[in-house]
């Protein structure tokens, strides 16, 4: 317990968290500080490319684990299951409409890649190894939750369906394609490829992550300001509880698959995190009646900072207890 708290305290004082806090504070204080959209997108391309490539290179180095296929299936299963739990919880904790609740639930079934990236940064800095193919699992978990959300909404008779075009958009979403593509490049070029571009994708990685989190803090802070008064206490409680429920759902799965402590922590992090890229865009197309302020604020304004500050260290600690050597 003490160890957990000390890890958490240490984590709270890392440049990564503090950069996010700076952005959040600046936005809440209505500072003019802002990151241009093009720069934020460039940072996110860098992070996706780097994390995907490193995952692939690590798979190339350690050989392909037979568990990859199982892990993918498990991830997809979680991505379907979590929204159902989230939806039920939301409907009991809040008076959100079915459509809003379905949309929010979809976000929690999917994943936030920057939460994942932050978790890998913490693992790396604490020298905990993890399975390189976890990035592939991350990519696989982006989309299924969207299907679950639409199904939850449709049960209420709203008649929404995934048309072919939406399927294509979701599955070929830029971030999925880049993550998987970079993973494959890393897997094909292996150690040699990594050596060639290491000083671009490895050494400056954490610094870039700081700037990206500064931007995330700004966006989250602006969102919180806009939606002040819109969120019920129940919704906020949900956004703080749900990550831990997701992580708890992922823990037995990861243990059953025999993941390392690092891999278990990452699986828990994926389950605990909520999407802020792929799912919002899909919801705007397929469930336009759902209020974006609600799902974006819960995902980016509450759950993301929760995971970043308290969640990840907790998952790492718990994973260490159960799966640790």
């Amino acid at each position: 317990m003490d160890a957990i708290l000390s890890v958490m305290g240490q984590n709270l004082l890392s440049p990564i968290i503090l950069s996010f806090a700076l952005g959040l504070a600046a936005a809440l204080a209505r500072s003019s500080l802002s990151v241009p959209e093009a720069a934020a997108k460039a940072l996110s391309i860098y992070l996706l490319f780097a994390i995907g490539f490193k995952g692939g290179a690590s798979v190339a180095a350690h050989g392909l684990d037979a568990r990859l296929a199982l892990a993918l299936v498990a991830g997809i299963g979680l991505s379907f299951a979590i929204p159902v739990v989230a939806f039920t919880l939301l409907r009991s904790l809040t008076r959100m409409s079915r459509v809003d609740a379905a949309a929010v639930a979809g976000h929690y079934g999917s994943i936030s890649i920057v939460t994942f990236v932050s978790a890998t940064a913490i693992l790396t800095s604490r020298a905990i190894d993890y399975e390189g193919y976890m990035v592939a699992v991350a990519a696989a978990m982006e989309a299924p939750a969207i299907v679950a959300a639409l199904w939850l909404a449709a049960r209420g008779g709203s008649g929404v369906k995934m048309d072919a075009e939406l399927w294509r958009e979701v599955m070929l979403n830029g971030s999925i394609v880049l993550l998987i593509g970079a993973f494959l490049i890393g897997a094909v070029t292996g150690e040699r490829g990594l050596a060639e571009i290491e000083s671009f994708i490895v050494s400056p990685f954490k610094g870039v992550l700081c700037l990206f989190l500064l931007d995330m803090g700004l966006v989250a802070g602006r969102g919180l300001k806009q939606s002040r008064g819109l969120l019920s206490a129940g919704a906020v409680v949900f956004a703080g509880l749900m990550p831990m429920i997701g992580a708890a759902m992922a823990l037995p799965v990861a243990l059953m698959l025999g993941f390392s402590a690092g891999g278990t922590a990452l699986m828990m992090t994926l389950a605990a995190s909520a999407s802020y890229i792929a799912v919002p865009a899909a919801m705007r197309v397929a469930l336009p009646e759902a209020n974006p302020s609600i799902y974006l604020t819960l995902s980016l304004g509450v759950t993301f900072p929760f995971n970043l500050s308290l969640g990840i260290p907790l998952y790492v600690a718990v994973a260490g207890l159960f799966a640790g050597g």
Binding site: L218, R222, Y276, I277, R284, P288
Partner: protein
């Protein structure tokens, strides 16, 4: 300078729907349009800004489409089917164009 009557249709629409809208208006036989970026805005669903956004979901774009007057209804019908359930603004104004053979 010789000019010709035309209509300028301006559609402000959520970025994730951009391609659906342009596909629909192309399908309606309108082949000319221009897409302008939008930095931010405000409406019944609140204020928003594109600053620092990574996701498409938060943004809008403006699609400007100049058409012959007789085709404006086809265009509006096609556009309306896409924007119907969504937030966004459709406005039409009169204008004159040079080189009418292009429209």
């Amino acid at each position: 300078m010789q000019t010709h009557q035309a209509k300028r249709v301006e559609i402000i629409i959520e970025a994730p729907l951009e391609h659906r809208l342009t596909d629909a208006i192309v399908a309606a036989g309108v082949t000319g349009f221009t897409i302008l970026p939008v930095l931010g805005g405000s409406g019944r669903s609140g204020q928003w800004s594109r600053d620092g956004q990574v996701s498409l979901a938060g943004g809008m774009v403006a699609v400007v489409c100049i058409v012959r007057p007789e085709r404006v209804d086809t265009l509006l019908d096609a556009a309306f089917k896409v924007v119907e359930r969504h937030i966004g603004v459709v406005s039409v104004s009169d204008c004159e164009v040079l080189r009418a053979e292009r429209f």
